[in-house]
Every structure is written in C-alpha cells, then in structure tokens.
Symmetry: none
Subunit: 133 residues, 4 copies
C-alpha cells in the first residue's frame, strides 16, 4: 500500500494550516514507503536550506519505518548508532520526520517538515500525517 | 520577483488537468528563479525515474532562463554546448522544462514535466506555466 | 506487489545457470518496484565495473517500468531522450535491464545483468526474469 | 585470496538463519578484500535504509581489515579518528561489519549486516563470517 497523491496533498494542506497557526513557514515533503517523492511544498519565505532537510526527514522515516525523533538518542556520541547519518546519502535524525500509516497500521509513506524549531517541525509533521488514513 | 507557492500550486493543478486530458501520468516540479524547489507532485502511477527528470528540467530552465527545448540542438555531438549536461549535477536538455514569466515578462520560476513523450511533457509544462501571471 | 527475496534469489540462480551455459561471467542485480536493492551476485571473475552497471540497469528498468533495451534508440544523438542518462544519479540505457512481472502482468521488480556483450547480458536477464511469476 | 561467490552465498545463508533465529530481518552484504560487492540479500520486510548501511559496514571492515566495532571508540569526539566517516563516500563505524578470514588467517572479504540493534547485527554478521573458511 502506497500513499496516493491526493492523500499526500491532503497531508501537506493540513501541515500548512498547522504551520500558519503556530506562525511558522515550513518546507513539507511526502514520500512513499520506498522513499520516492510524492509531493512537496515550500511555504513562501521558508528556508531554502530546509528543502533538503524535509526530504531527508521524510526519507529517513520511510527507510526505517519510524519517526526520526526515535533515532535522536541513539545517534549521539557514545551511543550505538553514532554517525549513522553518513549512510544513504545523508540522514536527518532529529524530530520532524513522521511515518504515515493507514487504518490497518501499515506504513504507507512518511512526511518530513523543516523550517522552525524541531518541536515546531514535529508538530506540523504530526498534523500532516494525522489527516491520512 | 519569485513565484509564490500559491502560483506554483496553480501551475501544478493546471498541469495535472492537462496531463489527465491527454491520458498521461506526470511528475511535475516548480522551482523559483534561483532553481530552488517550490512545489512538486507525482501523479499516481507516474514513473519514479521521472521525479528527478522533472526536477532537472525545471532547474535547467531556471538556471539558463530558457526552455529546455531551446538547448536540444546546441548539445548534440559537434555542437557548441556538447555534453553541457555534465554540469550542475546533471542537466536535462530535451523538451519539458519551461520558464514561467509574470505579466511584465520577468522570469519568476520554471516548471519541469516528465512522464510521457517529450511532446506530451512539453504540452503539460506549457499548460502549467500558462496559468501563472 | 513487491518481489520477495526468495523470488529474487530464484531469478539470480536462473541467471547464473544461463550465464554459465553461454560461457559468461555476470554481475546480476534484482530490485523492487521502488528501485531498492533486493539481491545481488557477482559470479567469480565477473568484471568489477559491471557491479554498478547491473545496479543501474535494474534500477533504470524499475524506474521506467520498461526494459532498458526500449530506451536505446530514444537516447541517441538527435533523438528525443538524448542524454537522459544524466538523471537519477546515472541511468544505463542499453540492453540488460528487464522488468519482472507477476502472472497478473504487474511489475514487481526488475533484474539487471552486466558482464558480457549486451546481447548476452539481455539473454541472461530474460532467463532470470522468466522464472519469477 | 578473494572470497568466492559460493562462499559469500554460504555466509549470507548462515546469516539469514541466525537472523530468523533471533527474530530479526536483516540486510546482508558481502564484499571482497578490495571492497567490491560479491553478494547481497535483503530479507523480506528488512529496512530499506539498511541496504546502504550493510554495504558501508562491509566496505569499512574490508577497507581497514578490521571489524567495524573496533573503530567505534576511536571515532568519538576528542578521539584520534573523530569524523573519519567523512572519507570514502561514507563509513559506518558501529558494530555489524566483520572481516572474513580463511584458515590461514588471511582476510578474504567482509560481511556487513544491518536491520536491528547493533548487538543483533553483530551476532548475525559473525554467524555469516563463521561458515567461510
């Protein structure tokens, strides 16, 4: 099961609403379970450097079928996955990449958000993922 | 003057309508004049390999402020720009990348379309660019 | 529908038999429909440079859901897709990448073979693809 | 002395058995002493992001003729090889890459395993390496 474009666009629309609500400007990327791009939007004035970060957050979540926030503790110095970011052409391992599941709990894609604090990024990603079922 | 996200989304919407009208499935990318991504959509069932081609068509058009079709003759063996595709991490120099201008004629972005024949790709790109003013 | 590892290994086993039969040494790669690697084998003495070519043949076939041989005429100088190989981190557009379909005709993966003439590469790829259903 | 494809396939078969035994799904890669790929298998359902990690673990072990676990302490902040991961297109310096030796103790290849905890990855890599002699 792969996320459809209509679902990806719904996720981006919901993410944009949440981003505006908390007064941020975000780059928002949606990928399928194979980490191939489905849809993307850069809100006016959002950081250019966050385009690629949103890609890598979405891809990292899809590649490991887990939110990027779940990796953050494991990749610190001295921890088991230290410097895993050098794989796959670059991972992002801080919050803002969130898996998207259907009602059966299957991962059908992932959303990556970047453009503000990681707390804000995470909130907006969750808002986007929540509307897809 | 940079294309806005709303304009980019309008271009993608128009491109999707044209793509459906001619019975194709397209990857559609919009960039700003700095060749930075603004918006992207992969229609359900469109080729995965066309994601990157749509990016490179849009970027190539923006980098040189001309439609990619204008480059095709110049890059052939023996011609002045032979193998220019090796620059910029990869150019695409066949039709389907089209500049987007405002009513004053300024380039405010570019659209790249890939997923069918180059004739179809070009038609869909033009349809997308036409709605932005 | 994604090819399973058991199916990919069966394809590689069949490809190896065919390769030996025609007295060649091949690199053989199988990917899923998202162009992610499933299985690979380099026969003893096969060219090292063919490892990556087998990857790119399999990926190219999966990305465009067509055999790489179907692209060869289109990418020549003066033809519509000239220099498309600069996309996707490098395509291979000569024979040896073959899509793998299930009995319903859906593309479930692709096999890429490199190590001899393109005619031999193609024969071995077809032999590998043929055993998966 | 280079590992043969038959030996590499035996290593992967043993690694798959151990992976199943400890209820994990692994990406398993075998390279020769020149860090060139010999064989690879992604178990059904194993992380896509672990394909490249298994490659980099195997290559790192082969490039330095030592298990990747031997590097972990040396690459920490303040330690002698801090950020060595930036070389060679990306190293992985946590456990799961294991050298493969013949009965004379010569390194004939390396195996890289990724898909679970680093402890599990290491166990499976050792199980794979152990059957080659």
């Amino acid at each position: 099961m792969n996320i459809t474009l209509a679902q990806a666009e719904a996720a981006i629309a919901a993410a944009k609403i949440k981003a505006a609500e908390i007064n941020t400007k975000m780059d928002i990327c949606v990928v399928d379970p194979g980490s191939n791009l489905v849809a993307f939007a850069r809100m006016d004035g959002a950081w250019l450097g966050s385009v690629d970060i949103s890609f890598k957050k979405a891809k990292t979540a899809a590649w490991f079928t887990m939110d990027t926030a779940a990796l953050s503790a494991l990749v610190q110095p001295g921890q088991p996955l230290y410097n895993i970011e050098h794989s796959n052409g670059g991972l992002i391992t801080f919050p803002g990449g969130v898996v998207i599941k259907n009602t059966e709990g299957e991962v059908i894609g992932a959303i990556g958000v970047s453009g503000s604090t990681v707390e804000d990024d995470y909130k907006v990603a969750v808002a986007g993922a929540a509307v897809v079922q």
